[in-house]
């Protein structure tokens, strides 16, 4: 049982969004796809202890969820036209084979969530729920909204997708820049809402920043030749790299110019710089690349400031005792480059 639970959890964490995107792209009904997938996970918890964990858990879940989706479509006359034709054509056996390497439709789902026909305020919540699999309560807490109210907004948005028949496809090349901008804005809003925690105490909101960066990496993987997705990833990573240095141990805010660069995450800064350089090579500047470049310049300025301070103090006076902590100790500073 324990082993089954773990297998289901792993499948949920690693494949939820891909499974949902596949089902939603075929049924064009996000809510029905979510229900079917939830049923499939529940069925897995019930069946796998008896039958053993399948060799390809994802494929098993996909086939089970698809069957549920067809069943529920048959029972609902209103939805009843498109779903069976879109889903029922493939036989189960054929389906099993296809499910082994099912196509990644997450990008289409992202573009649906940030479709201009969806109210702007609902795009980020929708993305967090469908593409990252966060529940409505978690999304609500991130946006400081009552869970019930957030639940309503999300189901309204999903009904709009279904009834207005928003297309599950990548935008035409001509529409790509504005449509991608909407996707990036929604991802950045997710990052921002995770970053707002002034007290630094709300672990859920900090988690959202991590999720947003995860989305940013996903976007870059799925659309590697879009400089602005790279720019957004670089921007978020630069901000995130300094998270630990932004607060004193008792929670007070530390301005960038006084931060201790040794507390920055060098791995994140390096990843950000690689992304930014890749964006620059594509030769199309944009908002997120500019903001990331500013972040990058700030990070370098502070690093050089400290190098310069080391050099100048070595020349003009004995080394500062106690290092960075004493820097603001009231001693008049003669050299303040980088401000």
């Amino acid at each position: 049982m324990e082993e089954t639970r773990r297998a289901v959890e792993v499948a949920a964490r690693d494949s939820y969004a891909r499974l949902l995107a596949w089902l939603a792209a075929r049924s064009r009904d996000v809510a029905a796809a979510e229900d079917a997938l939830a049923d499939a996970f529940a069925a897995a918890l019930g069946n796998w202890p008896k039958t053993g964990i399948p060799t390809r858990p994802e494929a098993w879940l996909l086939v089970a969820a698809r069957r549920r989706l067809i069943d529920s479509a048959r029972h609902s006359r209103v939805r009843g036209e498109a779903v069976p034709t879109l889903l029922a054509i493939t036989e189960d056996a054929e389906m099993e084979a296809e499910a082994v390497a099912f196509p990644d439709e997450r990008l289409k789902l992202l573009f649906v969530c940030a479709h201009p026909a969806i109210a702007e305020a609902d795009r980020t919540p929708l993305m967090l729920q469908t593409v990252l699999g966060l529940d409505a309560a978690r999304v609500a807490s991130a946006f400081l909204v009552q869970p019930a109210a957030m639940g309503q907004r999300l189901s309204r948005a999903k009904a709009k997708i279904r009834l207005a028949k928003i297309r599950f496809d990548l935008p035409e090349p001509a529409d790509m820049p504005p449509r991608l901008a909407a996707v990036l804005d929604a991802v950045y809003a997710a990052y921002g809402s995770g970053w707002d925690d002034v007290a630094g105490a709300d672990a859920r909101r900090k988690g959202l920043a991590t999720e947003a960066i995860h989305l940013g990496r996903t976007l870059v993987n799925l659309l590697p030749n879009q400089p602005e997705s790279l720019g957004l990833l670089a921007l978020m990573l630069h901000c995130e790299a300094r998270r630990e240095a932004r607060r004193t141990p008792d929670g007070a805010y530390v301005p960038l110019s006084d931060q201790d660069p040794t507390r920055w995450s060098l791995a994140m800064i390096a990843e950000a710089e690689v992304a930014l350089a890749a964006a620059a090579r594509l030769g199309r500047i944009g908002r997120y690349q500019l903001e990331a470049a500013i972040q990058s310049a700030h990070a370098q300025a502070v690093t050089f400031r400290d190098k310069w301070r080391e050099i100048s103090s070595a020349i003009w006076r004995p080394p500062v005792v106690g290092g960075f902590g004493k820097r603001l100790g009231g001693r008049p500073r003669k050299v303040r480059p980088g401000r």
């Binding site: 026909a117 009834l163 207005a164 028949k165 928003i166 297309r167 496809d169």
Partner: protein
């Protein structure tokens, strides 16, 4: 799947229909648009409507017929006509709506037609 493109226009746009100076270009653009819809095989119906001052409102109040001068909503932009088009999804419907002459001066509203219930 059928979508209805609702066309909302201002008084000055309704006036263009009969203004001798603007009339020829105005009708030329509409003719070209409906021809494009027909040639693409998506046209499923539609009509241009006479201006809002020709509208009459009817309601049943306690079973009694109440007839009034219209239009229903006293807004600056009024329904000037509609097309019904048969296209696979919202995005295609939006692309057709954007090509409509009224998209440049008025407002297009796109709504999916309801499927028959029951």
């Amino acid at each position: 799947m059928n979508f209805t493109l609702l066309i909302y226009e201002r008084p000055v746009d309704f006036a263009a229909r009969t203004d001798p100076a603007r009339q020829p270009a105005f009708w030329e653009s509409w003719k070209a648009y409906s021809q494009a819809l027909r040639e693409a095989g998506v046209m499923a119906g539609g009509a241009g409507l006479e201006p809002p001052e020709t509208a009459t409102i009817v309601r049943l109040t306690n079973g009694e017929r109440m007839v009034q001068d219209g239009p229903y909503a006293d807004t600056k932009e009024q329904l000037g006509g509609f097309f019904i088009i048969d296209v696979p999804d919202l995005d295609t419907a939006l692309a057709w709506a954007a090509r409509c002459p009224a998209a440049a001066y008025g407002t297009m509203e796109v709504r999916p037609n309801m499927r028959a219930m029951g």
